[in-house]
């Protein structure tokens, strides 16, 4: 794939909102084999994920590579309409970040990212509470949900955060030990 084709592909995937979009959308067109996004877009989603679910004494979303997970799920499991909401949302998130912080999301400090996404989360919540049945889910709700799902089902999330036990061997319906 040459650069022109790649640009067209991204432009198409992002619903024609490519023009004027940020650097992460216009560089590094090395498409993953299986997913929808290139490595810079995956890195961007990993940072969004890490801000939602940061490393503490347990791993964060970036270590679980939730960006690659989103890349595959948005491509294969989302409806075309939801896929567009998500990809448009990536662009919108970047633009909003610039408005709010004066920097692109990748350039913003961890503190700026957290403050911005906290505000965006509130907006998503307000939108979702007023949403009518035929309106799409808010893009940030999608990102937050996929961050959690991608983390829990990843090896680091399942093993180091949840107590992954592939064959419990018994059922105890009244234990004092937390299973996570």
């Amino acid at each position: 794939m040459n650069r022109r084709e790649a640009l067209e592909k991204v432009s198409y995937m992002l619903g024609g909102t490519f023009v004027g979009a940020s650097a992460f959308l216009s560089s590094g067109f090395t498409f993953a084999d299986k997913g929808l996004f290139d490595k810079d877009q995956i890195a961007f989603l990993n940072e969004v994920g890490e801000t939602i679910w940061p490393k503490t004494d347990s791993p964060g979303a970036k270590e679980a590579d939730v960006g690659s997970f989103m890349s595959v799920i948005v491509k294969d499991c989302y409806t075309p309409a939801d896929r567009k909401v998500f990809t448009d949302g990536m662009v919108t998130l970047e633009q909003r970040c610039k408005q709010e912080t004066g920097k692109g999301f990748m350039q913003a400090t961890p503190g700026q990212r957290t403050a911005f996404l906290t505000k965006l989360d509130q907006e998503a919540k307000d939108y979702m509470s007023k949403r009518k049945g035929d309106q799409p889910v808010h893009y940030f709700r999608m990102m937050k949900e996929l961050t959690l799902a991608g983390f829990y089902t990843s090896e680091v999330g399942a093993v180091k955060f949840l107590k992954y036990n592939p064959a419990p061997g018994r059922y105890d319906g009244c234990t004092t030990e937390r299973p996570w």
Partner: protein
């Protein structure tokens, strides 16, 4: 002729076909077992040992899955691993006059790989119901006829459960039950006391083994049965009956064999054999046998009968009654209630239990419990649990901390009810459309009616009463609006009965008009019952029918 002639042929390898194969082979009959799909070898062909992160979509259903299997992908246990045990709907079309979810698994083992595993005996009330209220035809058998055969199959199946001593829910032969958790125990206690014993919450009776049976089990409490189970922790054809059949040396298993019709010998008035299409070569073959067990699952068994036309049977084999394809039943389900409990805050559950609690029927089982707004009854399955908080506002460290907290306990119970046999709920063959094997496409026309709706409404409201009595708070009721078929308990389209004019099979599951043909899958039953576990009844009917058939063969009574 040698390699195409057998003592017996079994069509289908689901729950009932597997049992027919096992019983026939163990009685010394050289048996050809036909399966329309591919072989699925126990353990070897399962992907249950994969961790979630080893799956490309972490278990999720893709848009492509939804495109090729619009019906199957909506089945409750369809996922990235189990999807290979479901058919491609585009490849295997059927027509829905009214919405009907037809879950299908075309492979060795059939839907025994995917079943819900609950196993409840039918009671005398169930067998008497048609005669008493006049719906359908009277069952030609009663509880005493089938009870010894439940006794026979249950220990081999390996059912965990608790004996309760209830007349309307007969006890079976069980392995130790899977425990209730602390909230279920508390609720069960309060409900028993509060309703004076007239409503009960008991342990689910499930074909998940708490004790090892030969090489099978015990269950490892993973609750991923639909993946297939390399531990053999639940009963399936693949883990249990077919290995037993194979061990006799009497079984020939032939996958990729789509049975088109039963060949009828007009002179001798018997089923001579079957005509199949090899789904790999598309070649036609014939096989012959002294007796035939048709166990293709309710709707496909019906299709084969309707497609087996001859001068003697222009409307389908053994269909002089005109009942083949009629009286289709499923079960109305999905009505229930849920609530929360704010105690036991420092208690959790460990392990994933592949069953839950069960509420035996309590309507229309006596004069005192008689309803004026509907006949028959319903039961509930349910359970209590708690987990990690799943959602919170915000992002970052606080959000993460919020999601390490525990939820309160919650509990729900969901109803499974009886579907009356209505003549106009039916399946027919499409007059023009054929599938790629030249079989006419099935046309399904089935609905729930007033009785099911009234029963469902009561089931929903009664669920709330039970949970309230159990001490739960924040109780809400629901009706999932499930369409026929979605319970995956389709039955009744080649029913047993006393009178050949109004039924297809006699009390031995033997075709009235063709006495070397036996049908022991769901198509043979006269009523749906109201417990969510019809399969164990098919197993018992199958073992009973094989015993009868082989005795009759020895006596020379089968043509």
């Amino acid at each position: 002729m040698k390699d195409i002639t057998y003592d017996a042929i079994v069509v289908g390898t689901g729950i009932s076909g597997g049992w027919a194969a096992k019983e026939l082979c163990e009685k010394g009959l050289k048996t050809l077992v036909l399966e329309r799909g591919r072989d699925v070898k126990h353990i070897i062909d399962y992907e249950d040992m994969k961790a979630p992160w080893e799956l490309e979509h972490r278990g999720r259903v893709t848009q492509e899955d939804r495109r090729i299997s619009p019906v199957q992908s909506g089945v409750y246990n369809y996922n990235e691993v189990s999807r290979k045990f479901f058919v491609n709907d585009l490849d295997q079309p059927y027509e829905q006059v009214k919405p009907f979810e037809w879950a299908r698994g075309y492979q060795v083992g059939g839907r025994s790989l995917l079943w819900g595993r609950q196993c409840y005996r039918r009671s005398e009330i169930d067998f008497e119901a048609n005669a008493k209220d006049g719906h359908g035809v009277d069952w030609p058998i009663r509880y005493k006829d089938i009870a010894p055969w439940y006794d026979y199959v249950e220990p081999f199946v390996g059912i965990s459960g608790q004996r309760e001593g209830l007349a309307h829910l007969p006890d079976g032969i069980y392995q130790p039950p899977m425990d209730m958790n602390c909230v279920e125990k508390m609720v069960a206690e309060r409900v028993k006391k509060g309703f004076g014993g007239s409503r009960l919450i008991i342990n689910g009776r499930t074909a998940n083994h708490t004790r090892q049976i030969g090489k099978r089990g015990p269950c490892q409490f993973r609750a991923k049965c639909e993946s297939g189970c390399s531990y053999g922790g639940y009963f399936s054809t693949n883990s249990a009956t077919l290995p037993a059949a194979a061990e006799t040396g009497n079984m020939t298993l032939r996958p990729f064999s789509v049975v088109r019709e039963i060949i009828y010998d007009k002179e001798k008035r018997r089923a001579k054999g079957v005509r199949i299409i090899d789904s790999e070569t598309m070649e036609e073959h014939e096989y012959y046998a002294k007796i035939i067990f048709l166990n293709a699952s309710t709707l496909n068994t019906t299709a084969i009968l309707l497609n087996s036309v001859s001068d003697a049977f222009p409307n389908g084999l053994g269909n002089s009654s005109g009942q083949v394809g009629h009286n289709l039943m499923d079960m109305p389900y999905g009505m229930g209630a849920s609530g929360t409990y704010d105690g036991f805050k420092d208690r959790y559950t460990f392990g994933n239990r592949p069953t839950g609690v069960f509420v035996p029927r309590f309507r229309n089982i006596s004069k005192e419990t008689e309803r004026t707004d509907y006949v028959r009854g319903f039961t509930y399955q349910g359970g209590a649990g708690k987990g990690r908080v799943g959602w919170a506002d915000g992002v970052g460290v606080q959000f993460k901390e919020a999601l390490t907290e525990s939820t309160d306990w919650s509990m729900s119970i969901t109803a499974w009810g009886e579907h009356l046999p209505y003549y106009d709920n039916k399946v027919t063959l499409h007059k023009e459309k054929k599938d790629k094997f030249g079989m006419p496409v099935l046309v399904i026309d089935c609905a729930f009616k007033e009785n099911e709706k009234a029963l469902g409404k009561d089931a929903m409201n009664s669920a709330a009463e039970i949970l309230e009595m159990g001490g739960l708070k924040n109780i809400t009721t629901y009706d999932r609006g499930k369409i026929p078929g979605s319970c995956i308990h389709e039955t009744g389209t080649a029913r047993m009965g006393k009178d050949p004019k109004t039924s297809v099979l006699n009390k031995w599951n033997q075709m009235h008009e063709v006495n070397n043909l036996f049908i022991t899958d769901g198509s043979s039953v006269c009523s749906s019952g109201c417990t969510p576990g019809p399969s164990v009844t098919y197993m018992a009917l199958t073992a009973r029918a094989v015993d009868y058939a082989t005795k009759e063969m020895k006596k020379g009574n089968l043509r």
